[in-house]
Amino acid sequence: MTQRPITRLAGNLAWTRDGTVWATWRLTGLKYGFATDEVKLEAVDAHRDLFRSLRGEFLLTGLIAPEDPGTVVERMISDFDPGQHPDWADECARTLDQLVDEPTTDRLFYLSVPLRLGTARERTRLAVTAAWTQVSDWLQIPRAGASGRHINEVLAVAEDVRRKLPHELEARPVPVAEQIWTAWHAQSRGIDTWVPSPLDEPAATEALTVRAGVSLGEPVLDEGAKTDRTDGAGPRHTNPADRRVLKITTDPHQVSYQSMLMLADVPNGLSTLGSEFLGRLDDCGYAVDWAVRGVVREQREVLKRNKRAGTQQADQADHRSADATAHSKLDRSADDLDEYQAKMVADDLEVEVDATVILACAGPTFEIADEAAVEVQQHFLSQGYKWLRPLGSQIKAWTAMQPGSPVAALVREHRQLAPAESWAVAVPVISSELGDAVGMRLGWNTTSPRWRPMLLDMFGASSRDNSGSVALAGEKGGGKSATMKTIAGHVSSMGGRWLATDGSATGEWVEFADSVAGSCVVDVQEPAVSLDPLRIFDLDTGSRVAQSFLITLLNVAANDPLGRVLAKVLRPAYLTKHSISSLGDLVVHLSSCQIAGAGELADAMGVYIDPDDPRVGTARVLFDPNLAPLDLACRGIVFWTRGIHLPSRDELGNEHQFRTLSVDKIFGRALFALIARLAHEVCFADRSDLALFLCDEFHRITISPEGVRTMTEFIRDDRKNGAAVVIASHDPLADFGDETLQALIPTRIVMRIRDRRLARRALDWFGADPDDAALLETVMKHLSPIGENGVPVERRGECLVRDGSDRYGRAKIELPLQPVRRKACMSTPPERRRNHA
């Protein structure tokens, strides 16, 4: 009977039978994934510092924890009353169903170390307590608890250790419940565990916290799964070499098969980036737990040991003189030792880490666990890493993965030895977190092969001060518009409203608007409703918006004589006095009034509209009084701007070309500035009403300084006003306005761009290294690649994401799960269908 080493738990402490006290902390994974080299190197440095902050024995583990679908959905719906938002409740319910069908997991990191207690008295007391525990167990006497003072003393020692850990890792003491969870997790790996995960805090923590008398489980450890034969569970190999699996039976329904691998060899020479053999463990395709169990030695001790090894080598040189192979191996060892010695001498802070790396592959059956172990071995073999599961190692390795346990000689024999600097390149404690903590489920975070839900919190009053808006870059057909519609669909389901511009001839957003109750379309070419600001807004807002629109349209400066006339006639009092209630009225009034310059203004406006017959002219959507004014209460508004022309940047940059601009282009430019302004007014009207403005081909708005100014104002204060924008373009660097405007939107998404030059520019804007060949290749060829029949369904929506917390990763957009919304998002207008199908 193997005795469990832990006898007592309090806080993050565990007392063991041999009289030591172990402390455990949970560590936070560092940003890595698709981050820039600079960020990655920071993570490597933090790992180096982690090892350097330790002394003596340690255990570092990375455990796969099941994510409760309920917890995920809880984060989506926390701010909503399901009764009031039935659509959102439906979306959340479907998400819950999906997550139950495809459960997701997270990786949790723990650091455990035995504490070195200061005084001889404390150490003696621990030894006596440990001995007494043994005796009282043997005599079946109830165990006595330790005194609160003693616990506090030990906690203080643990806190000293924690303070020395690198701050980036945000080590925090685990509660007792989490210690119990790790113990249960160890015996239920690979099976659908009912143990609540510590991710479900605080409920799980509380649920597992019992005041006294707790069992960590009394599993039957069966190395080689021999009981499978006696249980008649099927024929098993009789050769122990074929049964390197540990069967753990917790109760008749809880049988976990695990196969432990130990690292036996690493490639000779690892590059600082790209050798993340633990950080990228998930790439093997299996959910594998890892543990690093070993000791950290100080420089002085290392130099002593190196010296001894040198003496041994010299002695061996004599013994091996007859064998050339053995001798050359020795030469290499000697060179390595010199190099190592030099490294240790060069840096006083450097420490040696001598540790066994253990992987636990698991499954509900012998075959699954065994196959996983073989596959993981194969996966690493091609990269030069050798993993072994020596005969008789399974229970020993399994035990070594748990804090407080003794380490068997066989496990110690597999220790790998290197300075902290070398271990750091394995970057074990990294995370691929992406997206926000709460909000709509935009898709899957596919940074690691273990997909996880990715949430987007556009409106949340989160602690972050930055904007909740989203910027997208991607080529036509790359998935931009489906992503935008997905977001708009979710906002509708959440009870919010949206406004979108649609420049397509086919009217893709017009089709989408059909799926949203209470939506309307403003067709600029053949208008049925009017956008006249004097008619759709109240007097104050209307006059302000009309002034800014006319200044852009007529290309006058606010301070010019004509600008001053405009200001005068658009004063609310003036408008009321002269009963001007529309732009059409204004033109008529100007052509007849006595103010100097009024006639000139009327003439300038006459270019766009015939005052006598407002049904004629480019600007009908604004000047025709016969049209019904747009109802701003619509929950979805599409500005269908087909056929509207815009000047190019060259035309605007050159004064001569500017003066010769066609009427259409001048109107187009002013119209988009007006749309931006209108969206701003609508979205900011009611703080409690979520409102979204979506604009593809964002250059249409940034082509005018007025548009840039409006959007900058918008994005600066969006979150505070329950508003957000989603902008998109194929060339964000050129189209997303000035640097200020670009910098204001932290959440960025890059979808497929096959053109190398544009892909480079997109990466530059994204914040990544545009010269990173692998990343460039990803954007050009590996995001939703086009197959023979278009983009296969399972590859749609792939993108790179930079989230609001400046983390980089890969994701896959998931369309809304409600059938109506899903269909509306997928609708591809006929023209595009021909091109890409």
Partner: protein, 201 residues
């Protein structure tokens, strides 16, 4: 980008024996320590037990002893353990090798390790409750609600009573059933779905 290395091989030099203590070379050397131990050990054993197996004259027996011992040493030399101590590896493997009645593999007896039970009670103490051992075990009020009810379709293993050869189920650490608690969004969501279940296809 920097290149870093592991130095396991630099420090763990397998100790080979190529020369006698007096400095004379051993022919065919160097040999691993375990090879030498095995060869000398088997030679000694054979020599001591030659009464039992010896069938020829003293010289022939001696030759046989040496040949067999050398053979053993030769075979052991072929077990590659790299930089790892072969004794430790062998002892570790021994714990996984079975007794003969379970058959043999590669001509060696197989001795299965008996199944073991990892047992032991643990006392939990919260810093604020120094006399944890005396407090009420399984206090129901400590049982905060789990999220069990949010996992709608997830199968939950029935906690069957223990059979005679199985360990008793760990009662105390079993997550308690949810108790009354303010309803969460998801709970409300589920309630609202079950209310209008018929509406959804």
């Amino acid at each position: 980008m920097q290149i870093v290395r592991f130095y396991t091989r630099a420090r763990k030099v397998p100790s080979l024996i190529g020369k006698m203590p007096d400095g004379t070379r051993i022919p065919g050397g160097p040999y691993t320590t375990i090879q030498v131990i095995a060869a000398i050990g088997s030679l000694a054993l054979l020599h001591q037990t030659r009464e039992l197996w010896g069938f020829a004259g003293g010289i022939t027996n001696l030759v046989l002893e040496v040949v067999i011992a050398a053979g053993i040493g030769f075979v052991i030399g072929h077990f590659e353990t790299g930089i790892r101590n072969p004794v430790v590896i062998a002892l570790g493997a021994a714990s996984g090798v079975a007794r003969p009645r379970h058959g043999t593999s590669s001509g060696r007896p197989v001795r299965p390790v008996p199944t073991r039970r990892l047992a032991g009670r643990v006392i939990v103490q919260m810093p604020g409750h120094p006399s944890g051992a005396t407090s009420q075990p399984g206090n129901p009020s400590a049982a905060a609600p789990g999220r069990a009810d949010t996992r709608r379709a997830r199968p939950r293993s029935a906690r069957a009573p223990a059979t005679h050869h199985e360990p008793p189920p760990p009662v105390d650490a079993t997550p308690p059933r949810p108790a009354a608690r303010p309803r969460t969004g998801v709970e409300e969501l589920l309630a609202s779905i079950s209310a209008d279940q018929g509406d959804r296809p």
